[in-house]
Symmetry: C2
Subunit: 247 residues, 2 copies
């Protein structure tokens, strides 16, 4: 349904251009957030950033504002999605999907993301849901908005077959993330190396193409589902030709 709301609703994004000093504060907050020893309190942020609490309240309003600004500051850092838009063929599509999966798993399993999601989830219980909404917006929703155009292009090119783009995206999400995120959030000492992430991304992409690849036989039939990826050419997914002009 209304999963993706890409419309520019900047009414609440009041965090207009944090000054360098404020950015340093937000980085300090992120540092505290990641540290499992430290608690993210106003006093601790002030001390870590060598600023006064009064300044924190002046700049961010209240604790919620500080957390919101921190989440958005982190989200702003993870904004780079190369997206191949033309000359589409199966190899390019596969590379794009693998790239998405790799990026997503990398972000997901990072300490910062885990800590941030923990904070937002924990905060989502009470009334001030604001934080969870923001993480949701910059997390799953953002991924959907970025991936669905790729899927649409794949469909236009006759490479994919699906009716519901959102459902397709969510299936891809499931194949990529599986139980990794919830396990990390619950404290599972799971650790993903870069190689494992790449491998997972390839597996998820292969499975997704098995499910959604157009029935040109070769993809789904010849290549058995349980079969490992026999590569097809150099999948240099680093094709930053068009870094996703949108948003």
């Amino acid at each position: 349904m209304s999963l993706a709301k890409p419309h520019a609703d900047d009414s609440k994004q009041g965090t207009v251009a944090p000054t360098p000093r404020q950015r340093a504060v937000l980085d300090a907050a992120l540092g505290l957030l990641v540290d499992p020893k430290a608690a993210l309190t106003m006093t601790s942020v002030a001390k870590a950033a060598s600023c006064s609490k009064e300044s924190l309240y002046k700049w961010f309003g209240d604790r919620e504002g500080l957390l919101t600004a921190t989440v958005q500051w982190q989200a702003a850092k993870v904004r780079a999605v190369p997206l191949a838009r033309e000359g589409i063929d199966l190899a390019v599509l596969r590379a794009s999907l693998e790239h998405f999966a790799t990026d997503w798993l990398t972000v997901l399993s990072g300490d910062t993301s885990v800590a941030l999601n923990r904070l937002a989830v924990g905060e989502a219980g009470g009334a001030g849901h604001h934080l969870g909404t923001i993480v949701l917006e910059n997390g799953p929703y953002a991924m959907g908005r970025r991936l669905e155009p790729v899927l649409a292009i794949g469909r236009e090119a006759g490479l994919l077959e699906f009716d519901d783009g959102e459902a397709a995206f969510r299936d891809f999400f499931g194949l990529v993330v599986r139980d990794v995120q919830i396990r990390l959030l619950l404290g599972d000492p799971l650790k993903l190396s870069d190689d494992e992430i790449r491998s997972e991304a390839r597996r998820a992409t292969r499975q997704f193409l098995t499910l959604y690849g157009a029935s040109q036989g070769s993809e789904t039939a010849k290549r058995g589902p349980a079969r490992p990826h026999g590569e097809d050419g150099p999948h240099d997914r680093d094709n930053p030709h068009k870094p996703n002009g949108k948003e």
Copy 2:
């Protein structure tokens, strides 16, 4: 293996054999947990359960003990797993998988599960909080332990093809859960009706069998992977008695 002992696991927690009075207290705690208005504090639990705080500390040691007992009490309630072990064929296997998926989605999207996972995730940040471990144990891990035998049976019967049972389970997990859990935890107002859950379970099962079903192709080809779940009206396959009486 040594992790899951359905009963008589009083190894580490003194919270064994909760008396009826204590069970009532734990139910009260669960009630508070679900209520987004109330905070789960020792005082509120005592008041809701009409017991004294002194009794709480006597019975559960401290707050952590109370929460742990609450989680385990809830987990003990969700202990019912029909498991078809013989006379296996594709229809039975499919029914088992759909049953698993349905149960899992039902539990996952329940208020209690969401609240419990929120609590555990929020608590998992610091140290010494083994609450996340317990939820993990009774959540994803438990599902894996219960599902993997089914997958193994399916493989022995020549219905499934896979090398790594755990990987297969995790793929199934991803196809079933997708982004539902993280969205719920983050406060997404997503709501799943029973029909939607059944539909999702069928979709996930169909996709899983597409990926892992032994190469009797007809299954995957005829039905097609892109079959949407758009309709929730009366569907011919809605036969809970013997779902999908074999093709």
